[in-house]
């Protein structure tokens, strides 16, 4: 019986250590907590140096982490889009975003709205992007 006790104790010990690791207690939330603490932009509208308006969308929490979109509107047109926050929990997230975000930005400037297709293979980020973008543009309208 002592062998069994030893086995149970060491199993519990290993499990506790495993669950103490940062990736073991949640998916996207881990990286969102970190980046949010590092400071995203606060949602809102602010004038920028070149006379346009910078509209900042809310941080959208996706399964892979936070997505936030900031658009610069000049003369009623979207001229610039940046993403202050993107999922960056691991290399694959970064790699997928590196490919997908330029396409999303280009689509946005072409469509001049949040009605864009999204990028296949990065559907989660695309959804978060569209949501944050729409909220940012709503501020301009309202």
């Amino acid at each position: 019986m002592r062998k069994v006790t030893l086995m149970i104790l060491s199993t519990v010990a290993v499990l506790v250590l495993l669950f103490s690791y940062r990736t073991s207690t949640g998916g996207g939330q881990v990286s969102s907590a970190r980046t949010a603490a590092a400071g995203g932009s606060t949602p809102g509208a602010a004038p920028d140096a070149s006379g346009g308006t910078v509209l900042t969308g809310p941080v959208v929490d996706t399964r892979w982490g936070p997505v936030q979109v900031q658009v610069t509107v000049q003369g009623g047109k979207i001229v610039k889009v940046v993403t202050p926050q993107l999922p960056s929990g691991n290399n694959r997230d970064r790699q997928i975003n590196d490919q997908a975000v330029p396409i999303l930005v280009q689509e946005t400037i072409q469509a001049q709205s949040a009605r864009i297709d999204g990028v296949s293979g990065a559907t989660v980020t695309s959804d978060g992007y569209v949501q944050s973008l729409q909220a940012a543009l709503d501020k301009a309208g309202g």
Binding site: M7, V14, G26, N90, N91, R92, Q95, S120
Partner: protein, 457 residues
């Protein structure tokens, strides 16, 4: 003596199993695989196969999904779901569990390999660096790695060569880590799994996981505890039957509610001191009665030798009843029982429940080994049992040496001329049973007329 083993049968006769119980179980396993592959297709599994990296990753997803599904099937096979067990029998389920286990294991290994190579190809990184990044950087992946290691240990120790070197207790204890392995693999499926995002996929996987957990808790843990508590089984007497063979008589409460039939077995735990935790499978050696059960055990080492020393009053825990070899599995016509040595203990109870027209071929080395001699004589005199005692040293096949003038199949046909009108029940050592089965096949007995139970698992 004979009045304690004959007489009224237990009142609750469990319903005979329906053929469709088996079909339904197989159908459910098949459908679960179909759903998993369909979810992968719906999740753009085929479209993602662009470029070498995409193809590897997408196939990696598929193998991972199928592997996860088979892991659950494998657990369900050992969950002792009554309807499934009653149709297939615990021995068949254990063999299927082993087969499905190796399949799910190799698919899991393939999944790990394909995903690692796929991600590495996408990102142009080295494979080992990629693996390192996967394990430490991705949500739930450290847990999944630990789970994978647990499953690897379980599988390696289940390979026959390793299994033989281990005590059963140690092997079984380590085998329980498979549950841990499956549980640890779950977080990475939820947090990184591309195929767990859609509502349909979530509904499927959550019900599969929770359903499996429920089945294990209810049938593997709950039912045995409940039955042991409700029936309060105790040893009433231990009676010698022959050289090294004893019968244990038991009684308990509300035995009429116990859904057991002659020919079935329980996993027994006698609370007689240290070492009680190992369960032993013993068949009922007489039809169950409202007030008594009987098992007959030959001492073969470890636990079976202890049985002879059991004291009346010893409490007993049981799992079961299990076993598919029951009288209701026959077609209702004549029956042929073929047994070797103590194999007769598993089929002896059937004599009480089979409709009649029973022939028993009983193989022993020496007449002195025969157990239940008086009971068999009673059945021969009063119930028309045709009894052939096949006595003598081993021959080339399953019959004794002195009968080897003709081959076994011919000898069998001479003893039982209308063999094809019989349902055949066989119990003995595994290799001997294979030889019997071979002869039956040669004589043209259809496989579904042959009923066997293998205890070597």
């Amino acid at each position: 003596m004979s009045t304690t083993v004959r007489g009224a049968r237990a009142l609750a006769i469990p319903r005979p199993p329906h053929r469709w119980w088996g079909e339904l179980a197989l159908g459910a396993a098949f459908c679960s695989l179909l759903v998993v592959v369909a979810l992968w297709v719906a999740g753009r599994g085929l479209q993602s196969m662009t470029g070498p990296g995409g193809a590897l990753t997408s196939l990696g997803r598929l193998t991972g999904l199928v592997s996860a599904d088979l892991l659950l099937v494998q657990i369900l096979l050992m969950a002792r779901i009554p309807w499934v067990e009653r149709w297939f029998g615990l021995d068949t389920l254990a063999r299927r569990h082993r087969l499905v286990g190796f399949w799910s294991f190799w698919l899991m290994v393939t999944h790990v390999g394909l995903i690692t190579f796929g991600y590495a190809a996408d990102q142009g990184t080295g494979v080992l660096g990629q693996l390192w990044d996967l394990v430490l950087g991705y949500p739930g992946m450290l847990l999944a790695t630990a789970g994978t290691l647990a499953l690897i240990v379980v599988v390696v120790l289940s390979v026959r060569a390793a299994r033989r070197r281990l005590r059963y207790e140690s092997w079984h204890l380590i085998h329980l880590y498979a549950y841990l392995g499956v549980a640890l693999a779950l977080p990475h499926q939820l947090w990184t799994g591309a195929d767990f995002a859609s509502p349909a996929a979530q509904a499927y996987w959550w019900s599969a996981y929770l359903g499996t957990l429920t089945a294990v808790l209810v049938f593997r843990v709950g039912t045995p505890l409940w039955r042991s508590w409700r029936h309060q089984l105790r040893v009433t007497a231990v009676v010698p039957e022959g050289p090294g063979v004893v019968s244990v008589h038991l009684t308990g409460q509300r035995l009429h509610e116990l859904p057991v039939r002659a020919g079935q077995f329980f996993l027994w735990r006698f609370l007689d001191g240290p070492g009680w935790s190992r369960a032993h499978p013993y068949s009922l050696s007489a039809a169950p009665r409202v007030d008594a059960l009987r098992i007959t055990v030959k001492s073969l080492g470890d636990g079976s030798t202890r049985v002879a020393g059991l004291r009346p009053g010893t409490r007993v825990l049981v799992e079961g009843p299990y076993g598919a070899v029951t009288a209701d599995r026959g077609q209702g016509g004549k029956s042929l029982l073929i047994t070797a040595g103590v194999g007769i203990t598993a089929l002896r109870g059937l004599l009480d429940e089979l409709p009649g027209g029973v022939t028993l071929l009983h193989r022993v080395r020496d007449r002195r080994e025969v157990v239940f001699g008086r009971e068999l004589d009673w059945y021969a005199a009063n119930r028309g049992l045709r009894l052939f005692l096949l006595e003598g040293p081993r021959g080339p096949g399953w019959l004794p040496a002195h009968m080897s003038a003709v081959d076994d199949a011919t000898a069998l046909r001479r003893m039982v001329p209308d063999l094809l009108a019989h349902d055949v029940f066989v119990c003995g050592p595994p290799a001997w049973m294979d030889a019997v089965r071979e002869s039956l096949r040669t004589c043209g007995v259809p496989p579904d007329h042959i009923h066997t139970e293998r205890f070597a698992w």
